[in-house]
Subunit: 443 residues, 2 copies
Amino acid sequence: MRCSEIIEKKRNGEILSCKEMEFLIDGYVKGLIPDYQIAAFLMAIYFQGLTEEETIYLTEAMINSGERIDLSSVTGVKADKHSTGGVGDKTTLVLGPLIAAGGIKVAKMSGRGLGHTGGTLDKLESIPGFRTQLSPEEFRENVNKLGIAVVGQTADLVPADKKLYALRDVTATVESVPLIASSIMSKKIAAGADVIVLDVKYGSGAFMKTAEQAKDLADAMVKIGLGLGKKMAALITNMDRPLGYAIGNALEIKEAIDTLKGKGPVDLSDLCLNLAGEIFYLAGKASDFSSGRELARGLLSRGAALDKFREFIAAQGGSKDVVETENLLPQADFRFTVQASVKGWINNMKTRDLGLAAMKLGAGRSTKDDTIDSGVGLVCYKKTGDYVEKGDTLAMIHANDEDQVDEVKKLVLQSYIIKETPPAEKPLIYGIVKESGFEKWSG
Amino acid sequence: MRCSEIIEKKRNGEILSCKEMEFLIDGYVKGLIPDYQIAAFLMAIYFQGLTEEETIYLTEAMINSGERIDLSSVTGVKADKHSTGGVGDKTTLVLGPLIAAGGIKVAKMSGRGLGHTGGTLDKLESIPGFRTQLSPEEFRENVNKLGIAVVGQTADLVPADKKLYALRDVTATVESVPLIASSIMSKKIAAGADVIVLDVKYGSGAFMKTAEQAKDLADAMVKIGLGLGKKMAALITNMDRPLGYAIGNALEIKEAIDTLKGKGPVDLSDLCLNLAGEIFYLAGKASDFSSGRELARGLLSRGAALDKFREFIAAQGGSKDVVETENLLPQADFRFTVQASVKGWINNMKTRDLGLAAMKLGAGRSTKDDTIDSGVGLVCYKKTGDYVEKGDTLAMIHANDEDQVDEVKKLVLQSYIIKETPPAEKPLIYGIVKESGFEKWSG
C-alpha cells in the first residue's frame, strides 16, 4: 500500500477500505507516515468527506492506536455523556450524580477548559480538597461502590487523536464533520461506556453555528457509536444564551448544587432531566424515554441525586460541606453589576463573548498553560427572551482584579442585543438523533 | 500573518494577496513554514484552484526564491521553447539551431528524461564528446557568439519548485493546472528569455489526456508569461503517436540531423517550422506568423540550420562529424522487427507504453539514478492513420540485451491498436493560445 495513492483515492472521491484507513492512522501514530502526507489527506477529507463506513473505520483505527479503559470489573450498565462545548455548561455536575443515583455506572473522563468554554475538571477543582487524579484501581473501585467517578483523560487514550488534532489545528482542517465526529467518538468509545448520550450544541456560543450543522454532526457521531456496538442518542441544543445563569468555576458548582436541590435554572434542570431520561431508557432502566425522565425527576425531587453528589465529592477528597455551606467555595473579592442601557427585549446574546469575558476575569484559559481563578466569573440574571427596563441588572461580574472590570463590563453589555420587539422563540432542545433517525423535539 | 489562516482562506475559496502568497513560499523555502502546512495548502489549491492573479503571484514568489539567470550581456532577443514532455520529442534539437540561424539567441537550460519521456540533455550526450556542463561565462559567450548553448539547469534556479514538486509528488497534488503552470513558468522565466513558446502535449503519451485539459494548461501558462512581461504563445499538439519515428537518444539525434537536412519526418519538420515561425514573429524577426514560418523554411532548406547545429555541437566539445557520418553515434548490437499480427488501419498507439518500452531497453530512467544506454531504442515505421498488411514491419527494436527483447516486442505490439476501419483524423497541432486567446489551428 502506498500512502500517496490512498490520498489520491480520497482526493478523487473514492471510498477507502478499512485496511487503507488503518494503514494511514497506524503508520502515522508509529511515525512511519509523515505529517505532510496526513495533512494533505485531512484536507482531501475536508473537501470529499467520508462515508458512514469510512468514518467508522477511521474511528476504530484511532481507538486502536492506544489503550482502551478496561471497565470489565465494573458491574452494571456504564453510561457516558458528552457535550460539544458550551458556555455555562455544568450539565455533567448534575447529570452524573443523577444517573448514578438511578443505578447507572458513570466512569467519566473529563477535560479542562480552553478559550470561551469551561471544563468539568476545572469546575470540580474549585471544591476544596477535590482530586481529579485517581489511580486506575481507585477509579474503578469508586465507580463500583458509589456509581460515579470523574477523572482527567489518561495520556494513553487515543494518541492518534492528539496527533491528528494538533495537525488539524495548524492546517485549517478542524471544521470537518467526519473528523470532528471521529475525534470525539474515538475517545468516548475508548473510555468504555455502553450507553453514550451526546449534547450537540449550536448557536453563538458553540462550534456549530446552525441547527442543521449540529444535526449533521450528531448524525455522524450516533452512526459511529451504533456501528461500534454502543447504545446512542444525541440531543441538539441551543447555545445562543448561556446554559443556566452562572459562568465560572465555583459559581457553576453552586448552580449545579442548586439544581440538585431542585431550585436550579429551568433550562439546566430540563436539559439534565431529558438527558437522564434518555440514558435510563437506553440503559434499560425505563421502558421508554418518558418514564426514564419521570425516574430522573423522582430521584432529583427526593434528594437522591444530591446525596450521590455528596458521596461523590467526598470519595474524591472534596469537602462535601460545600453543599450546605456555599461560602466554603472560593469567592471573588469584588462584585459589579452590568445594567441595561436601553429598555426592550433581549433578542440575542453573543454567548461566545460572554465566555471570553469570563476567561478574561480568570475563569478560563487563553492558552493551555494559563492557571484558573476558581472564584471569578459572571452571573447572567437576564437572558435571551427576557424584557428589561433601562437600568435593570443584566449580569453580575465576580472579579478579583478591579482593573479588568471596565473592559469586561463593556464586553458583557455589548453581548446583549436588546430590541423593541421580542425575539422569535428558540427552544433549548431543537431535536434528537436516535437509532431510528432525527426527530424534532416535542418535549 | 498566520499560515493556518491563509490556508483557511484558500480552503474557503477566497482570493489570496501577493503578500500572502510570498509569505507562504518565502517562509517555506527558508524552512520557517513546515511541509505539513504547505501540503494542506497545495491540496486546498487542488480543490479551489487559483485565479490568474494568484497564479502570477505564486510564480513570482517561486522565481524570487532563487537566482535568475543574468542574460544582460547577451545581445539580441532571447527565446526559449518548452515542451510539456512527450515520446520521441526531439524538437529542441532541430528548433534551437533553426532559430539561432535566424538571429535569435537560444540560452537553453534543459532537463533529463524520467519515466516514459526522454530529455534533451541525455540525447545530446549520445554525441561523442558533447559537454552539457558549461561555466556561466562559457554559456553566455557561446550564446553571444553562436546564438545557442544548451546546458543543465543550475541548482540555484527556483529552489521553491524543487521543494514544492517533491512535496506534491508524495501528497497527490501534482495534477493541478495552476501548480503545473507555475512550476514550468517559474523556471522558464528565471532562465531569462524574452520570448517563450510552449508546446503543450495531450494524448496517450502526454501528462494531459485531452485537448481541453492541454488548452487550460496552455492558457494558464501564457497568462503567467504575459503577466510577467514575456512574449508568449503555446501550441497544443497531439501525442497519441510518437513525434517522428525514433524513440531513444542516439536514434533521435540521427532523426534530428535528418530533419535539419530537410529529409526528416513530416510531423516533426512541420512542428519545428510552426514553432520557429511563431518565435520569429514574437521576436520581431517577421511581420506575421506566416512570414516567420517562411523564414524558417528558407533557413532549413538552404542548410543554415544544419550549419548552426554543427557549430553548436563543436562549441560544446562534441564531434560535429556525426552530421555526415552517422555511425559515429552509439549503436545497439541487435535489431529486431515487430510485425503486424493482423491487417488493418492503425487506429491508435499507446504512446506512453512505447516510451516505457524504450525505457526498458535502457533508453530512459525508471528512477533518477538509472544510467542511460545511448544506442538503444525504437523506430516506429508505422504510426496512427497508416494501413498495414499482416506481417508488415511496424517498428524496429534496437537493443543491447537480447533477453529483454521478447518482453519489449510484446509491449510494442500491444501498443498498436489496429482496426478494420481508418481512424478519425487527428491533426498534430490542435490549436494555439496567444495573447488574444485560443484559436483552432488552421495550418
